[in-house]
């Protein structure tokens, strides 16, 4: 059974299937609260996660990727509660994750690195070589597949990171700043890939680049100081910017600043730090 059909086999009756759901999610880092009472659900499509530095985007992605533990609330991915350690393996088989800084084993070639991640995901061994080649081709690195990762440029390494995240064709894909370090042409290609992936998968992309959101995302979630400040579509965020007149050079940028100001005005004690 492919991961995609796995997702398709779990439709929620009466509403679009949400592959990722959080309820009352709370994340603490020592004394600071990174996320507080976050209720979100994400279905198939590309979801842009916007917000200032330190807003909690990376904390949210890391909890969804099951690498960080929430301190409260409930997180459900592909129908499983991630606190249930017996089901974690099942969840992780269906996850793709690109961390902000993923690190790589210095001696590995692109092929070996992506195969290593396929092994971590316990993909059937006979399908791994073809899956690795497919993933690497998808990010446009087919001609560098046997090059050492450490010899690649920053943008290429980022693309290797994307390749490892999609090698298992995950129904849930979590990308933390995937376009950092890509040149404009690569970003255009990457958005194309995002749109393609969003047709069947739930893709959550944390980014600072409003152009990425405008061009590739079907939904946008704005996080500020650990809380959800806005949810909508890129056109609705742009419309908010036009009506509220927030500062910025791009309609989405104006929407972003307007939504942030509105959120901060409505919750004066909302700054958690």
């Amino acid at each position: 059974m492919s991961p995609v059909s796995h997702l398709a086999s779990r439709p929620s009756p009466g509403e679009p299937a949400a592959a990722v759901r959080t309820a009352g999610l709370r994340v603490r880092h020592r004394r600071t609260v990174a996320l507080d009472s976050v209720d979100l659900d994400f279905g198939p499509g590309v979801h842009g996660l916007l917000g200032p530095n330190g807003a909690g985007k990376t904390s949210l992605i890391r909890v969804l990727a099951t690498v960080a533990e929430p301190s409260g609330g409930r997180v459900e991915i592909l129908g499983h509660d991630i606190r249930d350690h017996r089901r974690r393996g099942e969840v992780r088989r269906g996850l793709g994750y690109l961390p902000q800084d993923f690190g790589y084993y210095p001696g590995f070639t692109v092929r070996e690195f992506v195969a290593y991640v396929a092994w971590l995901k316990e993909m059937p061994a006979d399908g791994v070589p073809a899956a690795v080649e497919r993933a690497v081709a998808r990010v446009g690195l087919a001609d560098r597949i046997d090059a050492k990762v450490r010899r690649l440029s920053g943008g290429m390494i980022r693309r290797v990171g994307i390749a490892q995240a999609v090698v298992n064709e995950p129904p849930v894909l979590l990308l933390d700043e995937p376009t950092a370090g890509l040149d404009p042409e690569q970003r255009v290609e990457f958005r194309e890939l995002l749109r393609e992936l969003g047709v069947s998968s739930t893709v959550i992309v944390s980014t600072h680049l409003v152009e990425d959101v405008a061009a590739a995302c079907t939904e946008v979630t704005l996080v500020d100081a650990g809380r959800v400040a806005y949810r909508g579509t890129p056109p609705s965020l742009a419309a908010l910017g036009e009506s509220e007149g927030g500062p910025g050079d791009h309609p989405i940028e104006r929407g972003y600043t307007a939504a942030l100001r509105a959120h901060r005005a409505s919750a004066p004690g909302g700054a958690l730090r």
Binding site: G54, T58, S59, R62, A65, T66, V67, G89, R92, R93, L95, Y97, P99, Q100, D101, F102, G103, Y104, Y105, P106, G107, F108, E112, A115, Y116, V117, W119, L120, K121, E122, A125, V128, Q164
Partner: protein
């Protein structure tokens, strides 16, 4: 699966680690040769104390994970791999180092070498879990150096407990200390893994 295991071994630079252990053993053979230990067995103490120290440092650095964040998304829990990785290298180091002083029927022969390897690896594994693999050699280096330099004139019943690296092989208390360190360090490492190094948001 086999291919995955090979990738795991290469990701942890295990081939180079085994070579470095063999190099440590070769250096120990050279070091032991010129000590004239048949005149005074305690002349072998530097080799028996320092070779396990270097071997443990080599093993400690192999516990480093360059892509810790991705490794945490592995489907299978890591503790089983850790429970193979660390004891396998420890056994390899203990055998290699014991062989370097094989045939020296002194109180500081193969048995003392094995005991010191176990104790040093235990300290290093614990340090990898608490400090990170890259610095895991530091506490054991400091500890064994301090014991080596400071235990010469120490007297008292507690000496074998803390000065285990420089005790003769027949000293049972020193064995207990080394094995306790091995078990505690291994348990800590197997349960927690090496402490992540680098940035965290």
């Amino acid at each position: 699966m086999t291919h995955g295991f090979l990738l795991y071994a290469r990701s942890r630079v295990l081939p180079r680690t085994v070579l470095a252990l063999a190099g440590t053993a070769a250096a120990a053979v050279l070091g032991a040769r010129n000590l004239d230990a048949y005149l005074d067995p305690s002349r072998q103490v530097p080799v028996v104390a320092l070779a396990p120290l270097f071997a443990a440092a080599v093993i400690g650095t192999s516990l480093h994970s360059a892509s810790d964040e991705l490794d945490r998304t592995a489907v299978r829990p890591w503790w089983r791999r850790r429970l193979v990785h660390l004891p396998a290298l420890t056994g390899c180091a203990a055998l290699l180092l014991a062989a370097t002083v094989y045939g020296h029927p002194s109180p500081f022969g193969p048995a003392a070498m094995v005991r010191n390897t176990l104790g040093c690896v235990g300290l290093t594994a614990g340090a990898a879990a608490l400090l990170g693999a890259r610095l895991s050699w530091l506490p054991v280096f400091g500890y064994v150096s301090a014991v080596y330099l400071g235990s010469a004139n120490a007297r008292g019943r507690a000496v074998p407990v803390w000065a285990w690296p420089v005790q003769p092989a027949a000293q049972h208390t020193a064995w207990v200390s080394a094995v306790v360190l091995l078990v505690a360090g291994t348990a800590l490492y197997v349960a927690r893994g090496a402490r992540p190094e680098g940035r965290r948001d």
